[in-house]
Structure formats: C-alpha cells, structure tokens
C-alpha cells in the first residue's frame, strides 16, 4: 500500500511555521520564569538569618548517612504493612459497599450496621483509632491478643475501609438502573447482575478516587509508629532523640515521597484515561 504524501498548501505551511515559533517561545518563557522563581527561593531561604542553624539540624549529611540503614529497615515494615492493609481495606470496602446496597427488610440490620460503620469511621481521626486499637485492646488482657503492629494495621484497614466503601458505593450508584434491568431481563439473578454487570463498571469508574485514597493510605501507614513498632518514622524518631538533630525525619520524609511517586503516577494516568473516556462519548 502506498500512501500519497500530501503537500501542505501555502496557507497551511504558514500556520505550521507560526505554531512552531509559538512553541519555542513558550518553552523559553517557561525556562526563564522557572529560573527566576528558583533563584528568588534560594536567596530567600539561604539568606534567612537562621539558615545556617536550620541547615545543620535538618540537612546534616553525616547524620543522614548514619541513620539511613535503620530508617530503610523501618520503611520495609511500612511497605509490607501498606500492601497488606491496602488489600484488606479494599476487600472490606467492597463488602461494606455491597451490604449497603442490599434491599429488603431482612437486610435492614446489616444495612444499618454498615451505614453506621461508614459514618463513624469516616469521622473518627485515624490517630484516635490507632490509640484505641493499639492500647485499648491489649488492655482487655484477652488470650492471644495480636501484636501492636497487627492492631495498628487493623485500625488502618478499618478506617480506610470506610472511605473506600463510600467510593465504591457511589460507583455502584452511578451505574444506570437500565443496566440492571437489562441483566435481569436476561434471567440473571440480583447477585449475578451485581457481580457481572454492576460491580465491574462501578470499580472501573471509581478507580481514580480509589487510587487517590490508596496514596493517602500509603503515608498514613507511618502513623503506626505512634503505637510503637519500629517503622521508618519511629526509626527516625530514635535517631532524632539520640543526636538532637532533625535530619532523620527529613530522610524518612524523602523516602516516603519516593515511595509514593509510582502510585501517584499510576493514579494520574488512570484519572486522565478515565476523563478522556468520559469525554470521548459526548
């Protein structure tokens, strides 16, 4: 197959040349404004009267090197906790969302409990939940009480489960009733219609907000340090306390950001694609 090369007309060549000139101009402008703003920031920060002391107590390379291994080891706990908690919170959210859509008088108590759960845990600060779980439950002195790490993880799962449940539920409600009618008219039961028709569409639609909540969860995993386990933040805290220097916190913060970048990237990509898809239809 040969494609005949189209020779642009005079007027189109003019347009192309103009657009190219504009593009070069905007790149130059962007570079210039970035340089100016960057310079202003550097002068402002390094010129500040207290800069030398801040530099010493927050950005000391020797302290950073000293505590990096311990912080990394702690971060490994954060990563494992995050993966397990994210999967559990998603499963919990899905179950709660489905329970909240059940109709009929038999399911009234289930529905009411699920609703009460999402209402309370979306309002309750995570820190309080972690304290209640990590210090309250062991206080009961029951046989076989799990470790504080597990309890802290449970607090995270239960809090985030409530958020994810609401996201999935709004996804379920955004699926048009005619889809259920079509599925039921084919003889599918309510459960089958839910499983094969409604939920796949609901989860697809709620992917961007679900991922967003997951990013938030990733950093909130650090709050578990309040309960005692030695995660990245707790390891940094130990360093801060023994050296009277805040650099370990900065190291932990940078590591958390680096850890979040891939997931943030995925979230942006999925959100963009979802927006494109929505607009393609109209």
């Amino acid at each position: 197959m040969t494609v005949q090369l189209h020779q642009p007309s005079e007027i189109q060549r003019g347009r192309i040349a103009y657009r190219r000139k504009q593009a070069i101009r905007s790149v130059l402008l962007a570079a210039l404004s970035t340089a100016v703003i960057g310079a202003v920031l550097v002068v402002l920060v390094t010129g500040a009267p207290g800069w030398d002391r801040v530099k010493q107590s927050f950005f000391d390379p020797d302290v950073a090197r000293e505590y990096l291994p311990a912080i990394l080891e702690g971060l490994w706990l954060n990563i494992r906790l995050f993966v397990v908690c994210a999967v559990c919170a998603l499963a919990l959210g899905l179950v709660i969302a489905i329970l909240r859509t059940l109709r009929g008088p038999v399911f009234f108590p289930v529905r009411a409990l699920a609703t009460a759960y999402t209402y309370s845990f979306r309002g309750l600060p995570l820190i309080i939940v972690i304290y209640l779980f990590a210090f309250g439950i062991p206080g009961l002195r029951l046989q076989g009480t799990p470790s504080v790490t597990v309890l802290g993880g449970a607090a995270l799962v239960i809090t985030y489960g409530a958020y994810l449940a609401e996201v999935i539920r709004s996804g379920i409600e955004s699926v048009h009733p005619s889809q259920v009618a079509a599925a039921r008219s084919l003889g599918l039961s309510y459960r089958q219609a839910m499983r094969h028709v409604v939920l796949p569409q609901a989860v697809r639609r709620s992917a961007p907000p679900l991922l967003n909540d997951t990013v938030a969860m990733q950093k909130d995993v650090g709050l578990i340090s309040l309960a005692g386990p030695i995660d990245a933040i707790r390891a940094a805290q130990i360093g801060v306390a023994s050296d009277a220097n805040f650099t370990p916190y900065v190291v932990a913060g940078v590591l958390f950001v680096l850890l979040a970048l891939p997931l943030i990237g995925v979230t942006d990509f999925v959100t963009l694609r979802a927006a494109r898809r929505q607009n393609a239809g109209t």
């Binding site: 005619s178 889809q179 009618a181 079509a182 599925a183 039921r184 008219s185 084919l186 003889g187 599918l188 039961s189 089958q192 094969h196 028709v197 796949p200 569409q201 697809r204 393609a280 239809g281």
Partner: protein, 246 residues
C-alpha cells in the same frame, strides 16, 4: 396462548397507567402495540417481563400464572426476551461476552458452545467482524441488532421489543426492521411497541391500540390502521400521519 394478560392494573402513585388491560398473544403471532407516548406500552412490557410488579390482574405465560408471588421471576425472565429502546448493552464487555453472558452464567452452557452459537448469530445478522468489539465502537443499528441477538440466544418463548428503532438515525432503522422481519419468518412470537406504523402494517398479525390503560381497539393491521372504529384511534392515527410517520 403463549401470553395472556387479564385485567392487568398498574399504578405509579396516583397515576393509573394500566387499568384493566386484557391482551392475548398466540403461538407464532406478532402483535404490535401502538399508542401515544405515555400510554403505558413500556410499562406493559416491563410488567410482562416481571421487571415491574402489577397491582391487579393476572399475566400467564403458556398458561402458567407468572404474577403468582410464589414463582421464581428469574426462571420466567429466562423464557421472555426483552429488547430496550436504548439497547442497554453492557459497555464493559465485548459484543461476544454480552451475548454469551446469560447462556453461560444462567443456563450453564459450555463456553465454547455458547460462543459458537453467538458467532453463528452474528454472522447471520451481518456482524461477524464485530464479535471482539466493545459496544461504544458500534453504530446504534449495530448495537440494537446485538441486543436482539443477546435476547435470542436464551431461546425465549416470547420476545418483547420496546420501540427498538426509536433511538436510531433514520438510515439505520431498516437494518433492525429487516432482522425483526426475519425473526417473524422463523416463527418467533413477538410483542412490539412501535411508532413505525408502516412496519406494523407489514409485519404484525395484529395491532393493539393502547388508550387510557386499556386496549381500546385491536385487530388485523389493515383494519386498525386503515379503518379504525374508535374515534380516539382515528385521532391518534391522524396525529401520526401529520407527523409523517405513516
């Protein structure tokens, strides 16, 4: 009788949509439901498919009372196909998966067999190359033909078609009507709500005019559409002719 509706009543709050409606459909018969917008055509079809619950009367399928609360509505719906004005294909599934969903999940037929049957139908309606496509890549007429195939692979006793050409661009109406004409040739029992009077005249064995919640007038198309007895039928047809649809 395949379908027998007796004194069916359906209300939405104070709005009495079906008010003692009676209609019979025999084996291999094609009945066209006509009537003004809002006269209850869609409501009747949804009641027959048990998507809506009637407030009084009885609906029988092959003599069995399907409005008895003790019967299993899923089992009834498996025997009655319903095709919607807005197609309602599942957007997250390919054409093939849309068609095989019910055979595989509801009738528990082997996937390979269900797919083969789906491919045969697609070939028959000229959509063989669309099996792997998603609904949003299809024209309205193609989507509606897929929706009809999706209802047919359940081997329904009765096919209900609710204004299946109303959402289509005029040049796409023909392909769907041709398909319905072929189904009549196969002996499919059908009830179709329609605004296409010309088509009703060609394909229907009987036309029923819905008015004020009842079948006001019914009979062979030539009679109901050509020499209606009831003044209200005449008024309705006059409005349709005015709109250029006869």
């Amino acid at each position: 009788m395949v379908l027998s509706c007796q004194d069916v009543r359906k209300t939405f709050g104070a709005n009495v949509v079906l008010d003692g409606l009676t209609l019979d459909v025999g084996e291999h018969e094609v009945v066209a439901l006509i009537g003004a917008s809002g006269s209850g055509k869609s409501t009747l079809l949804r009641c027959v498919n048990l998507l809506a619950e009637i407030d009084d009367g009885t609906i029988r399928l092959d003599g069995e009372d399907i409005t008895d609360p003790r019967i299993n509505p899923d089992a009834v719906r498996q025997k009655i196909g319903l095709v919607f004005q807005s197609y309602n294909l599942f957007p997250h599934m390919t054409v093939l998966d849309n068609i095989t969903l019910a055979p595989v999940r509801v009738h528990k037929r082997p996937v390979a067999e269900a797919r083969e049957q789906a491919h045969e139908w697609l070939k028959r309606v000229g959509l063989a190359d669309k099996a792997g496509a998603y609904p949003d890549r299809l024209s309205g007429g193609q989507q509606q033909r897929v929706a009809i195939v999706r209802a047919l692979v359940n081997n329904p006793r009765l096919l209900l078609l609710d204004e299946v050409t109303s959402a289509l661009d005029p040049e796409l109406v023909g392909e769907v009507l041709t398909m319905i004409r072929d189904l009549k040739g196969d002996g499919m029992t059908m009830v179709l709500a329609t605004h296409e009077m010309g088509f009703a005249r060609q394909v229907a064995d009987r036309v029923a005019f819905l008015d004020k919640g009842k079948v006001l007038e019914e009979g062979p198309p030539a009679q109901v559409l050509g020499e209606p007895v009831e003044p209200r039928t005449r008024q309705f047809l006059a409005r349709i002719i005015e709109a250029g649809r006869l």
